[in-house]
């Protein structure tokens, strides 16, 4: 794969058309159609809000907690959608890979672009909720963009790495499903990280070294309240760069694995 060819005209057309198709097909035949992309995270939020905030009384000391929670679930949905779609992409498009020759990463990226579009729309909902909740608009909101890029690159790396292995060993899909469940509790989405820090500072620091946790906390910091505990202000240098290093390592390992294995996708899928 030569660099200049990566996004040449033909590949761009292909990427656009595959994304459009993915998008159209995902909500085909459902009455509410695209609304589901909005409703699903909102419903997940509602359940978590009732259970954790109202019944278990968690997070009452955090300002704008409902938006804080919604922001976390939105980013989490994006991460899970992005990785699971990306991992499945090669198999889902197997028919295509066996019939035409094109850079294989296109199917992975196109499957994730739908998740990115969904995230964009859901973030608008988060912003609306934030404004209703009395969060003051700020320039720091724009810092959310590079953070989301980081989260996306992490998902891309995971999708490349696991998606490439998944072609031969389909167990990956199931393993990832379970892992995602575990990760959900390892990331401070439903519980505030302060709760962990209250028991063990070390545990809280370790949790914040997870790039997913770092991204979610950073988005909350910039979007909702500067009182958010982030990797930067809680762990500090030099360890604060660990999440970034993890993202870079996964991305490079994923890209290299994918590039090597993709030569044989057409035969193995």
């Amino acid at each position: 794969m030569k660099i200049p060819r990566v996004l040449n005209r033909k590949n761009r057309i292909l990427l656009k058309e595959l994304t459009k198709t993915d998008f159209k097909l995902r909500y085909q035949g459902s009455v509410l159609g695209y609304l589901w992309a909005l409703l699903r995270p909102l419903m997940m939020f509602a359940i978590l809000y009732i259970v954790f905030s109202k019944l278990l009384k968690i997070g009452n000391d955090i300002p704008h907690y409902p938006v804080y929670l919604l922001c976390g679930t939105t980013l989490w949905s994006f991460f899970t959608e992005c990785t699971s779609q990306g991992i499945q992409a090669i198999i889902a498009r197997g028919e295509l890979l066996r019939k035409i020759s094109f850079p294989k990463y296109i199917v992975v990226v196109s499957s994730q672009l739908t998740a990115l579009i969904n995230l964009g729309i859901n973030l608008i909902v988060v912003v609306i909720f934030a404004l209703i909740n009395g969060v003051a608009p700020s320039w720091s909101w724009f810092l959310v963009i590079p953070i989301i890029l980081e989260l996306y690159l992490l998902s891309l790396g995971i999708a490349f790495l696991l998606g490439a292995i998944n072609v031969k060993y389909r167990d990956i899909t199931s393993i990832w499903d379970v892992l995602v469940q575990a990760l959900f509790y390892a990331v401070p989405i439903i519980y505030p990280i302060q709760m962990v820090a209250g028991t063990s500072t070390l545990a809280a620091k370790i949790i914040l070294l997870n790039p997913i946790a770092q991204c979610i906390q950073d988005v909350r910091f910039n979007l909702i309240t500067p009182e958010t505990v982030t990797t930067w202000n809680f762990v500090g240098l030099p360890y604060a760069i660990v999440p970034l290093v993890i993202v870079v390592v996964i991305l490079i390992a994923g890209a290299l694995t994918f590039r090597h294995k993709s030569k044989f996708f057409a035969e193995e899928v």
């Binding site: 057309i13 159209k24 389909r170």
Partner: protein, 261 residues
């Protein structure tokens, strides 16, 4: 453990040669028993079982195809024709050997690649077009011609699942013939539609021949070989057993099959 592989390069040269193939080899690893999944893979490794059988499909092919040649590739089922075509198209990776493709190559391994039953005819046309490398604007320009040629104008906004299989193939063929490239790779796409449509297809191939388009055609139809090809290559068990005059190759193939003419 990295396997050493062959190469496939694309160039733009003016030397009159469209495709150059040197000592091309390909074998597939066929799983012997149930060797999918992680558990079996670990078991196999522990026991020192390979878990697959090496199936040699192409055993060293050498040939050149000149620009403007219409070449037929014939052979029995399982002789390696389609594998050869897929390697030329860049879908499979050559295991050993060297391939040089000179110019843009448009492969048709199958008609209607990417067709989706849940989408309408219109959406499928644009999708399939994109897979052939056409932009939206280019598709807009040829859109009406596609439907006219396929004789399906009134079904444009129907979902593809409501098309008969013949209609699908006609639509796909109608898009496919718009593709422009220096080299066309065709795999068994001649046998489509009813007699009237068949005639259109034959006219298309005739026009390719007259326009000196470089074509590689994999087919079982000796009529097509005799009618359109300038040259034919007979493959048997992954080796070229004959290469030359299409009539002679067609005769040899018919004899090989043991069918009386």
């Amino acid at each position: 453990m990295r396997r050493k592989l062959g190469t496939r390069t694309e160039v733009e040269l003016d030397n009159g040669i469209a495709i150059e193939v040197k000592n091309l080899k390909k074998s597939f690893r066929l799983p012997t028993e149930q060797s999918f999944g992680l558990k079996q893979a670990i078991f196999n490794r522990l026991r020192g079982i390979k878990g697959y059988k090496e199936q040699k499909v192409l055993r060293g092919l050498d040939f050149d195809i000149k620009k403007g040649e219409f070449v037929g590739i014939v052979g029995r089922n399982g002789s390696g024709k389609s594998t050869l075509l897929k390697i030329l198209a860049g879908i499979y990776y050559p295991q050993a050997g060297e391939i040089v493709i000179n110019g843009t190559l448009i492969p048709f391994i199958e008609l209607g690649v990417g067709f989706n039953y849940e989408l309408t005819g219109r959406e499928n046309v644009y999708l399939n077009g994109a897979l052939l490398g056409f932009s939206n604007a280019e598709m807009d320009a040829m859109y009406d011609d596609i439907w006219k040629f396929a004789e399906l104008e009134q079904f444009q906004d129907q979902k593809l699942k409501n098309y008969s299989s013949g209609m699908q193939v006609r639509l796909a063929f109608s898009i496919a013939i718009r593709a422009r490239g220096d080299i066309l790779l065709l795999d068994e796409v001649l046998a489509v539609g009813d007699a009237a449509f068949q005639k259109k297809c034959n006219d298309y191939f005739k026009s390719l021949h007259e326009n000196k388009q470089t074509v590689i055609l994999v087919t079982h139809s000796m009529e097509n070989v005799r009618e359109f090809c300038d040259r034919a290559i007979l493959i048997e068990q992954g080796k070229i057993v004959m290469d030359g005059d299409p009539n002679k190759v067609a005769d040899a193939y018919t004899e090989m099959l043991g069918i009386k003419k």
